[in-house]
């Protein structure tokens, strides 16, 4: 249903009353980011596919569309959102996912959510309806505001609809598992001959290295035989549902009341000296970490990750009244505040959801 006019009017009314607005759709990621107080503003009913021609490799959808519905439409044409969006409750909307900027296991091999965004329509902090980018692969007219919206936690505007590049679903996918010590596994993931082996996902948890190969049936069969014959590795084939459970945080690993950290580092970063449980994915570039009791202060974890050239986020079960995202250097902070003012002059869209100061 197209509610863009209603939503614009509703937002106009809320903003003219200088009320802070808390944007939502499926409430599947209410745990994420800082806690805020604001009048609820839901785009959940603004849902549906606006345009889809599978020959174009582009789909345009309203932001309230559930990711599950969207995937279904694409799968009917043997296509997919290649960044494999996580789905936490089943009600997850594409708008919410993009506002959070999250990607799944295929990310290191094909790109992130923002890489697949071609354009969007949004409501800014003056409730103006603006359109940036488009439905074409190449577009350099004007600043790239649509990609700027991805991961901005709704603080720069309300996404109304979005055009995404889609890709064909690989003909075959095979998941391989092998027991390996951690250091060997991290080396292995980064040194695998990707010229020959079409790896589309990698993870390490509970002493096991998981790899997924994707491609066309015949070549893949041949390469699997080659692995078994020539590479002296005891890989066994495993159930591909592992990747869905990983991306949707349904593995036992994620079952915790403690703070779940998302650690983002350059992929070849070795083992960080952290006491606790770690799950590695994305060639080693994304790590989920749960600290042993009171072993590390939040600042200590953030510092250690910073030294490795990365950043750390308290993803779940954080104290959401303080900062949950990595602190920004002062100059960067200044430009975040200025950019926020440029998009939302009165500071009323999701204020404080991302950082306390905007």
């Amino acid at each position: 249903m197209d509610l863009s006019r209603d939503l614009q009017e509703q937002l106009q009314a809320m903003l003219s009353g200088k009320q802070p607005v808390a944007i939502s759709a499926g409430h599947s990621k209410d745990f994420y980011g800082r806690e805020i107080k604001g009048e609820p503003f839901s785009v959940a009913d603004h849902a549906g596919v606006l345009e889809y021609d599978f020959r174009e490799l582009v789909i345009t959808v309203r932001s309230g569309t559930s990711i599950n519905d969207l995937q279904k439409v694409l799968a009917e044409n043997n296509q997919m959102l290649a960044f494999e969006p996580p789905v936490f409750s089943g009600k997850d909307s594409i708008g919410g996912l993009l506002a959070c900027g999250l990607s799944g296991p295929r990310r290191p091999y094909v790109g992130s959510a923002r890489d697949f965004v071609l354009g969007c329509t949004l409501l800014n902090g003056k409730a103006e309806k603006l359109k940036f980018g488009g439905q074409v692969m190449k577009n350099v007219a004007g600043y790239d505001v649509s990609r700027l919206m991805i991961g901005a936690m709704g603080t720069l505007g309300v996404i109304l609809d979005v055009s995404l590049k889609v890709l064909p679903i690989p003909e075959v996918e095979k998941t391989l598992v092998i027991e390996k010590p951690l250091n060997d596994a991290l080396d292995y993931i980064n040194n695998i001959d990707t010229q020959r082996f079409p790896v589309s996902a990698s993870a390490y948890v509970d002493n096991r290295l998981y790899l997924r190969l994707s491609g066309m049936e015949k070549p893949l069969e041949t390469y699997l035989k080659h692995i078994k014959k020539h590479i002296k590795e005891d890989f066994v084939e495993a159930d591909s549902s592992f990747w869905q459970k990983l991306k949707d945080h349904q593995l036992d690993f994620f079952n915790t009341d403690k703070t779940l950290w998302r650690i983002s580092v350059p992929p070849a970063t070795g083992v960080l000296g952290l006491q606790g449980k770690t799950l590695y994915e994305w060639r080693g570039a994304q790590r989920w970490f749960i600290a042993d009791d009171e072993t590390h202060s939040n600042g200590h974890i953030a510092n250690l990750v910073k030294q490795a050239g990365g950043h750390a986020t308290q993803f779940r079960n954080a104290d959401r009244s303080s900062e949950v995202f990595n602190p920004l250097p002062d100059v960067l902070k200044k430009y975040h505040i200025k950019l926020k003012q440029a998009m939302d002059p009165d500071g009323l869209l999701n204020p404080g959801r991302f950082y306390s100061y905007f």
Binding site: E56, A141, K338
Partner: protein
């Protein structure tokens, strides 16, 4: 500021060899690849260190002197056209590769390193940098980021924005900022995405870290000839529909086939109305399988002839024709005007037909080469600048083509940027609240509008005065402005 005074002030903190101001020194900088527009700056600066760039920008900020940054000056939209009252800041001396990180498959380079220079430096490790604008031998990576440069492999490997992981920039106030990171993402807003393609309006790039890719085991090229350009256009969609993402998918029309053939003798079929070049890359077995699929798709789509390059030499020859299409067309006509619109692929037949109609109306020939896979058109309008009124005619023809691109859901520029060239067409593509939003974003980084003033985003007054007033559904596009 007076020229003499400006130079004196700059020489207080810059070595004399970095400050050029004699006419014969600054003339080479008066235009970029869009040579129809020329302008001398007051002074050209060639700093050697990031600290000098910071000092220059702080100085210009304090004294309100406009600054235009420039890489190799190969841009096609006048993005590096100097400002008459300002400083031209050349990053040409920043031409070192700082670090190649094989484990993380990244290269950290200075902005003046050429696009191809990166691939050349890492080839021995079996790696390359994917975006390949046709000027890759000369264009710099700093300029590539500023323009979000593309090339022939974008459908599969993306644009510059997909292949750059971090940049260091200097703001107009002289501050140094790191955007992005060597991890796969960074904390805060995705300012890296915002800076890609920002045309030097938001900051000056002093360092770039790019993602490297493993050179595919094999690359194969197919050449298909068609007796009808619409059939060729449909074949493009059918290849994608078959689940194949080619590394490159290019189309040339009859006029450009003939031009290329006369120029480089690529053995193109001269009787064809259009040819498609389709490159497939990856591991050997997958490439073989995909080649079979594409061959049968092309047959079904009505190709009159299909050739598969038998070896590397033939593959290079197939590409040589396409890659020399611009200079080849240049030999047919005293001047040509290159457009850069992008359209949804499905609109290709419609747009091609309308373009032929326009060609007749304007009485100017148009040769077409496209990045067909991603719908990026490069119509080349042939004209003679020495004939009175022809440049103007060619420009109106070009503007009509871009308007057509916008009307079918596309964009006025796919990869060349807006610069000064397409600033008026921005009024066709965007409404005034959108343009105002762009100006607000610009002001967040450059309150006084000193970085590359007058480029990329038109003022609302300009759009209104232009008569680019396309009244849509009876709504005036710029109701807040007075009309006279």
């Amino acid at each position: 500021m007076e020229k003499k005074q400006l130079i004196e002030n700059l020489l207080k903190f810059l070595p004399s060899e970095t400050v050029l101001f004699h006419d014969e020194e600054i003339i080479p900088y008066e235009c970029d690849g869009l040579s129809a527009y020329r302008q001398s700056p007051i002074v050209v600066l060639l700093p050697k260190s990031v600290e000098q760039v910071q000092e220059i920008l702080s100085f210009c900020h304090e004294r309100q002197v406009p600054v235009v940054a420039r890489g190799a000056g190969t841009g096609l939209s006048g993005g590096a056209l100097p400002n008459q009252q300002g400083v031209l800041l050349s990053l040409a001396r920043f031409n070192n590769i700082l670090d190649i990180d094989l484990n993380n498959q990244t290269a950290r380079v200075q902005p003046g390193v050429t696009n191809l220079g990166i691939s050349d430096a890492v080839r021995k490790h079996g790696l390359y940098y994917a975006p390949d604008p046709s000027s890759q031998i000369a264009c710099t990576i700093g300029g590539n980021v500023a323009e979000n440069a593309g090339g022939v492999h974008c459908l599969k490997y993306g644009l510059t924005v997909h292949n750059v992981i971090s940049v260091e920039i200097i703001t107009i106030e002289g501050e140094r900022l790191t955007l992005g990171s060597e991890a796969f993402d960074a904390a805060g807003f995705d300012l890296l995405a915002l800076f890609n393609g920002s045309e030097g309006m938001l900051g000056v790039i002093v360092e770039v870290t790019v993602k490297l890719r493993v050179i595919p085991e094999q690359a194969k090229v197919l050449l298909a000839a068609f007796d009808d350009i619409e059939k060729a256009g449909r074949a493009v969609g059918e290849i994608i529909a078959a689940g194949v993402i080619p590394a490159g998918l290019e189309m040339m029309d009859k006029l450009s086939i003939k031009a290329a053939e006369d120029f480089v003798h690529a053995n193109y079929p001269l009787d064809a109305e259009a040819i498609l070049l389709c490159e497939l890359d990856g591991d050997q077995l997958s490439v073989e399988t995909e080649t079979g699929i594409v061959q049968s798709v092309l047959e079904k789509a009505g190709a009159t002839e299909i050739r598969v390059a038998k070896n590397e030499a033939e593959r290079a020859l197939f590409w040589k024709g396409r890659k020399s299409a611009f200079p080849a067309v240049g030999r047919m006509s005293p001047d040509y005007y290159c457009m850069d619109g992008t359209i949804p692929r499905s609109k290709l037949p419609e747009v091609l037909n309308k373009m032929q109609d326009m060609s007749r109306t304007y009485d100017l020939p148009v040769a077409n080469v496209f990045h067909a896979g991603d719908g990026n058109l490069h119509p080349l309008i042939l004209y003679d600048a020495n004939k009175p009124g022809e440049l103007k005619k060619a420009e109106s023809f070009g503007a009509d083509i871009l308007r057509l691109c916008v009307n079918v859901g596309g964009t006025i520029t796919g990869e060349h940027g807006v610069g000064v060239e397409k600033i008026d067409q921005m009024c066709d593509q965007f409404e005034s609240p959108e343009l105002s939003q762009f100006h607000a974003i610009k002001a967040a980084f450059d309150q006084q509008g000193l970085l590359n003033p007058g480029k990329a985003v038109p003022t609302l007054h300009r759009c209104a005065e232009l008569g680019a007033m396309h009244v849509h559904n009876g709504e005036l596009p710029f109701p807040e402005l007075d009309r006279f």
